[in-house]
Symmetry: none
Subunit: 205 residues, 4 copies
DNA sequence: TAATAAGCGAGACGGTACGTCGAGTCTTCAT
DNA sequence: ATGAAGACTCGACGTACCGTCTCGCTTATTA
């Protein structure tokens, strides 16, 4: 019985893992996700194909982990616990505009764009991967909004009874939509407008 | 210059085109987009591969046209100009709830789900295809919102000065986001809540 | 009943036929037989593919006719009935050397080499075509030898009782063999040696 | 320079090689060379196409090796060094008749005929392949004649000064010619006649 | 301290699909 | 009714990757 073979992760080569992350991200950035192949990643990483197949079930999974790792590294580089909070200056509108502008900037950063688009697209079509994408990348971000809005609600700046989950989507949904499908350009001005319109709908009457 | 030979579309086989549309949609529904191959479509349609390559540049392009054609046919079957308007009963909130609920239903319809997810995902990653997807499928829908909101604005139900393009995204953005990435389930109740929150933000003060 | 359709040869376009011959020979000379395609011949001749398929059963058949035509033309250009005889000066050895040397020259002529190699090769593998090749191209040549040898036999220069069919092959067989398979270089000296050795075997004892 | 990656032949699958030889020979025998495809060989051998393309440059090359291997096997089965000599009974004429008759038999054996015709034809048109065909299949046979004739020459049965290379072609050339182009039927009687006529030409005067 | 077993780089293997080419058939339009 | 043009179905081409499978070769415990 039992699994066909569980590799012993204590003996795993850290060196290879890093090389694979780097190769995957580099290739996605250079040639796009569709033209990135496992064989290509292996070759670029100087690694046997089997080493990839041993530890990941799919190309998308490799990229997801590589991307998470990228975020983790960026985070550590930035002092440790950066971006883990939406500021609370008391001025909800200003705080939301600040963070939405930052999101716009990130979505526009070419370094992040290629892999995150690829992952999002894969997630659209592959529920498994989509779930992990949401859970590990998206949801943590959204929880920050939830937290800030909860504080605002407590402070009476957001109507009581408002479902905060839905509320936060008023900000992030339109932004994501524009980004994913490029229906319209993203800009700080757009972010501001979005906050204004949406926030007004949540304000106490 | 130097086009690589444009085929003569007046001599195109209508029979083959139809068969290809049908095969493409059937296969995407049955085995999913990723496992749908051009070879498979050709075989199922009883058509040479070359006939596909002659008229379409990619699998995604075939599916997009097939899907557009499906919509067209559904439209014609429904009397000609169905669904081409958002009702205007004077009650903006009710009208929007009605149409958003219908959208939820469509997004949930398994017949539409597989191909439209596939197209959306492809569009996320392939700007060319994305542009056509937006232009030919998405934008026409969005324009209906724009029109209804314009009427409402004229009637004083929406604040003057509101950018209607952004306004309509308050409704469609969150919905699309939930659908694409399955962050949360779609339901009529959700649609209603969305309309309520967003609309309040647009209302005159 | 009846053939699937017999084209009316009285209405056949002479213009097209010539153009097809020219194109076929030119292409075989330029890119070789294997890479010569019916489509290519048609395009080069400015002719529809069907015009070829209507009148010839295969690429090899086209080339065979084209080649025969080439010979016919060369013949006419040379005054009408050239090369249709082996000279009879009374000196059998000299006469045979003369004609074998001429054959060596022809086999070496690049204009004739490509198509005749192609036809021979095709004939090796395709009995139908081979039979026509032999009958229409090769045999007439061989008959000239038969005739000359018959005269020699009558004149007592060749042993009585010798089977002339076999005798002539002593000259042409080795030559053809060297040419076809390039086992050894062809030269006038070789032709001379061949005549000497073989003729001696046929001489009266 | 710049080899496009040479595969590591020490890791080559013997199993696959054999299967490919068998499939190639079987297909050529069954459907003929022209209708034998690499795809077909691969399928029949239960082998990926790439495995063929990795080790051979062309269909003809596969067949040539398969055929050589067939000869090698036949040889081993027959005790090791069979057929590697022309007998030397002292009677040159009898010895040559014996071996020429055997050659006629082989050329008529349907098992050998299809592939060797195919190879010969390919060699006629493709100098590369032709050279290998001659070098590896034909020339070793011809050397046997050269050796026997040299012995005869030493024994005074063949005129001194005779070029043995040309001499041997008096026997093999006509035979090959008849076989390749089917100008006339092959038979033991023909072989005998050939030996008689040619040998007489080589005899001391 | 040796042996022994895992992960590893490498890459051959059986496959599937790719996108292209040409075969041979069929249809349209012009002469 | 022939011919030029070219779209059609079909089948094979040669290539690229897939995911699996040996091969030695480190390396890192375990006997």
């Amino acid at each position: 019985m039992a699994e066909t073979k569980a590799p012993d992760s204590t003996r795993r080569s850290e060196r290879s893992r890093r090389a694979i992350y780097d190769a995957a991200l580099a290739l996605v950035a250079e040639v796009g996700y569709a033209k990135t192949t496992i064989e290509g990643i292996a070759a670029r990483a100087g690694v046997g194909k089997q080493t990839i197949y041993r530890w990941w079930p799919s190309k998308a999974a490799v990229l997801l982990e590589a991307f998470l790792d990228l975020g983790r590294q960026a985070n550590e580089a930035l002092g440790g616990d950066a971006d883990s909070e939406i500021p609370d200056t008391g001025d909800l509108e200003a705080d939301l505009k600040f963070v939405l502008r930052a999101t716009v900037d990130e979505m526009t950063d070419p370094k992040f764009e290629a892999p995150s688009r690829a992952l999002a697209a894969e997630g659209v079509v592959n529920p498994e991967l989509g779930a992990r994408f949401v859970e590990q990348l998206l949801e943590p971000q959204l929880q920050l909004y939830a937290k800030r809005l909860a504080a605002a609600q407590e402070a009476g700046q957001v109507r009581a009874g408002i479902d905060l989950r839905i509320a936060l989507e008023l900000f992030t949904g339109p932004l994501a939509h524009r980004w994913l499908l490029r229906t319209q350009p993203l800009s700080h001005a757009y972010a501001d407008r979005l906050v204004e319109y949406a926030l007004y709908g949540l304000a106490p009457r």
